[in-house]
C-alpha cells in the first residue's frame, strides 16, 4: 500500500513542477496555420434564435498559445459562441477562421474536432454506460474511420497515455468504474481528461469548475495554466475567484457582443462591466 502511495505522491509532485511539460499533453499534429496571425478569429458574427439576438456582431481574436477567460452574465451568449466555433450552430452571418487556412463555417463538427478543436461542455457529458478508461480511449487522438475503429486495439502507447491522463485527473482509482456513477466533480474531471486525450490545438472549456471543491478548483487552475503555451485555451467561467487565479486576458460578453476586454484588473474596474456583471456577482461572493 505505502509503496503505491509514495510513488503516487512523487508523481504528483513531479506533476506540480511548473516548468515540466508533459509529452502526452502536447497537441497532436494539427494542420492549422498560425504563422501569420491568430489561431481563432471571429468577425462580425451574429446569430438569432426565433428573433432573439443571442450573438450580436461579435468580434473575437485568440492568439496561438493564449489562455483567455470569457465571463458574462447568464444568457450573454458564451455557450452559443462555443457552439458556433465547434460547428453545432451556424451563424446568420460573419466569419469564423481557425488559423489562416480553415474557414470553420464550411466544416461540420467531426471535421472541426479533427482539425484540433476540443470542447468541454457546460453540463458534463461523458459516456455513462462506458467505464472511465473507455471514455478516455474513445477520445484519444487517432484514427476515426469506421473500418479502422472496428479493428483498433489499445496498444501500449495508448494505454500509457490513458494511465498518465488518469493520474492527471486523479481518477486512477476509478478507472474501471462506470462514468455514470461518478460524482459531478469527477465527471467534470473525466471530461477534461477526454479533452487531454484528444490533444487539441485549441481547447474550449465551458464552466470547468462548477461543482468542484476548492482544492479541485486549484488543480484545475494549475492544469489549465500549464496547458496554455503549447495549446490555446478559452475558458468560460462564472467563478470570479477562479478567473482571477488563471486569467491573463479577460473578455466580457454581454448580450451577445464584447463589452470589455483586458486584464482582470482592467475589466473589473470598467464601470460598464461593474454595472452589468461584476457588481452583483462580487456582492454575492
Amino acid at each position: 500500500m505505502s509503496v503505491i502511495d509514495s510513488t503516487r505522491f512523487d508523481r504528483l509532485r513531479e506533476f506540480a513542477r511548473p516548468d515540466r511539460v508533459f509529452d502526452f499533453m502536447a497537441p497532436a499534429q494539427s494542420p492549422v496555420d498560425v504563422r501569420h496571425g491568430p489561431i481563432l478569429y471571429l468577425e462580425d458574427v451574429s446569430v438569432s434564435f426565433d428573433g432573439f439576438q443571442a450573438i450580436n456582431r461579435l468580434n473575437l481574436t485568440i492568439d496561438d498559445g493564449e489562455l483567455r477567460c470569457i465571463i458574462g452574465p447568464n444568457g450573454a451568449g458564451k455557450t452559443t459562441m462555443m457552439d458556433i466555433i465547434t460547428g453545432k450552430t451556424r451563424p446568420d452571418h460573419g466569419q469564423v477562421w481557425f488559423g489562416s487556412r480553415h474557414n470553420l463555417l464550411t466544416l461540420d463538427e467531426p471535421q472541426i474536432a479533427n482539425l484540433g478543436i476540443g470542447r468541454k461542455f457546460q453540463k458534463p457529458t461523458v459516456f455513462e454506460a462506458l467505464d472511465v478508461t473507455e471514455n478516455l480511449e474513445l477520445a484519444m487522438a487517432g484514427e476515426r474511420r469506421v473500418w479502422k475503429t472496428l479493428l483498433a486495439r489499445l496498444d501500449h502507447e495508448g494505454q500509457a497515455r490513458i494511465d498518465e491522463v488518469l493520474e492527471t485527473i486523479g481518477l486512477s482509482g476509478e478507472r474501471y468504474r462506470l462514468a455514470g456513477v461518478l460524482s459531478h466533480g469527477q465527471k467534470q474531471w473525466l471530461e477534461i481528461g477526454m479533452l487531454l486525450m484528444q490533444r487539441p490545438r485549441l481547447l474550449l472549456v465551458d464552466e470547468p469548475v462548477a461543482g468542484m471543491t476548492e482544492p479541485e478548483m486549484h488543480r484545475t487552475a494549475a492544469l489549465l495554466t500549464r496547458l496554455a503555451g503549447q495549446q490555446s485555451v478559452v475558458v468560460v467561467e462564472h467563478d470570479m475567484g477562479f478567473v482571477r487565479s488563471i486569467a491573463r486576458q479577460v473578455t466580457v460578453l454581454h448580450q451577445g457582443s464584447v463589452l470589455a476586454e483586458g486584464t482582470m484588473d482592467d475589466v473589473s474596474s470598467d464601470p460598464r462591466v461593474v454595472e452589468v456583471y461584476l457588481g452583483g456577482d462580487e456582492e454575492a461572493a
Binding site: E109, G118, Y176
Partner: protein, 363 residues
Amino acid sequence: MTTQTFLHERDRSRQAFLSRSTLLTSLVLIVGMLVVLVLNALPESSAWHVSNATVSLLGKYFTYMLLALAVDLIWGYLGILSLGHGAFFALGGYAMGLYLNAQTSPLPGWQSIMTYFPVAALAVLLAPGLLALVFGWLAFRSRVTGVYFSIITQALTFALMLAFNRNEMGMGGSTGLTRFYELLGFSLASEGMTVALFVASGMAVLLAFWLCQAITVSRLGRVSVATRDAEARVRFIGYRVDHVKLALFVVSAMIAGVAGALYVPQVGIINPSTFAPLFSIEVVVWVALGGRATLYGALLGALVVNYLKTVLTGVMPDAWLFILGGLFVLVTMLLPQGIAGVISTWRGKRRDGEKQDRQEVSA
C-alpha cells in the same frame, strides 16, 4: 440506467470476444441443435422422437432469432429503433423465393439471372444492403433520429408492402411467391432438406452472433454505445456518427436478409404480409422482451415469444395480439431490461454474494 449500475463497474470480462456469455450462448446453440438432431434421428415409435415438422418449426425460430439479432445490433447498441426491419427480411426472402421459383420454370426478363444460386445468394445480401445504404444515407445524413426515424422506417416497409402487392411488380402480387420444389437440386420435401435447412439456420444464427459480438466488443462497438447515449458528444470528439450508423445499419439489414432467405424455403411461401408494419413491430417486441443491448437477450426473446405464439395461437387464435401487447406493456414496466436483465441481476447478486463471502472469510 444500465443493469450493471448497481455493480458500479463495467464487467470487463464481458468485453472480450471470448467472454463467458459468448461461450455459454454458443454452447447452448450448438448443444441444442445437436440434441434436436439426435432426437429427430430416433425411431418414430420412441417417446423422445422429434418430428420433422418440429425441426422445421425450430428452423423457422432460428430465422426469427437471426432477425432479432439484426434489430438488437442497431437498437440495443446504437439506439436506432427500426420499425421496418421486416422489409429487409422480406427482401432476402423474395430473392430466395425467385431463385426457388426459377428451379421449376424459367423466370421472365431480368429475373432469369436469379436462376443461379450464387447470384441469388448475392441478391439476398445486396437487395437489403443497398436499400439500407440508400435509405440510411439519406436519413442519417440529415440527422433524422429517434421517433422520426422509426416512423419513416414504418413508412418504408408499408410502401414496399403496397408495391409488392401489385401484380406489375412481377413478384406474385398479393399471393406472393410459392410453389417451391427444389433447392440446389434437392427436393424441398425431403427429410434431409428439412434437417439441412435447420442446421443452416442454426449455423447462421451462430455466425451472426459471433459477428455481432465481435462488433460490439470492438472500439466501434463502444463508439456506437456512446452514440446511443450522447450522440453530440461523439461528434465533438471527431467521429462521423452518420458513417457509424450507416455501417451498422447496412450490416444489420444484411443479417435480416439472410434470415428471410432461410425462412422462405422452410415456410414455403413469401408474400407481402411480411412487409406489414405490424410484423416489424413484433420483432422489436421480441428484442424488448428478451432484453436489448444483450445479444443473447435478443435470441432468447425471439425464441420465447415465438414459442408462446405457436402455443397460444393454437389455443386462442384471436387473442395473440392482445397477449403480445400486454406482455410488452408488462415487461417495459416491470422488467425494463427484459429477460436478460433478470438474468444479469441474478448473476450480479450472486457475484456480490460471493465477494461478500470471501470478505467474511478473510476478515
